[in-house]
Symmetry: C2
Subunit: 143 residues, 2 copies
Amino acid sequence: MIFNQHFEYLLKKHQLKRTEQRLRVLSLLSGKKVATSQPDLESVIGDVDRVTLYRILSAFEEKGIIHKVFDLNGTANYALCSDNCDEHDHHDEHLHFNCTSCKNVYCLDELDMPPIVLPAGFKLEKLSFSATGLCPKCINKES
Amino acid sequence: MIFNQHFEYLLKKHQLKRTEQRLRVLSLLSGKKVATSQPDLESVIGDVDRVTLYRILSAFEEKGIIHKVFDLNGTANYALCSDNCDEHDHHDEHLHFNCTSCKNVYCLDELDMPPIVLPAGFKLEKLSFSATGLCPKCINKES
DNA sequence: TTAAGTGCAAAATCTTTGCAAATGT
DNA sequence: ACATTTGCAAAGATTTTGCACTTAA
């Protein structure tokens, strides 16, 4: 869990006004170790207009505060970026694990990603890895 | 380019009727080495209803004839599976390369994917790798 | 005070569903 | 002939846009 103070710093840093709605989004995202979809956010965030949520998420993404990752159904899920992201330089090259049972998307930052060599002629900018399977919680439920 | 005869075999194999519309989809997909989005298909396929296209694509995906991969914008792109796919066992664990300029999605089957070790507790079912950057065609255009 | 942000209504997209007519086997 | 598949119309869902009101700085 990250402090409110840090959220305010984040907003100021990116010249975004400190609003109740934005703080709630940041607080919700920081509370989860998994990426959260727009509909999920909407259902728990309470009294924030759907359109506002869209706009907050896309503003945050542009500024590099959060990153977007698509799950198995192609719906966007959002997670806080590590601190050293900005609009020009996203670092979300960790593995995203999609649980087929609970549908959660885990950001596994701690894993080292292997180097990938592309065929000649391709210029690599960004790599992303994603895995599908069962998360620890759902494995336990099954057995 | 694959032969029409092969498409008919594919359809029969999966108990799908040999229709003009389905053959056209197969032929278009086989003609490209890149995955194609639903809107792109729609624009070149000619006189096939949008709804029919949706249904064809989802039927093909269920049967394991094509696989779906999401591009940078979260829109679904489709590509023919290698021959040994079926509904229970998809093999599309190759790297997908997304060109930021022409938006094409390349299926780079020939690359070996490195093994990934997940944290304890996660059960891996499927891995997928995707890369972003410039494809050979677009690099040449730039310089 | 004033530029940015929010909420509401409405438009524009995208995707799915129901059903009658057409088509493949 | 009969089950599938298609096209059209219409419903649902998702996302975007415009604009007046509100709010943080």
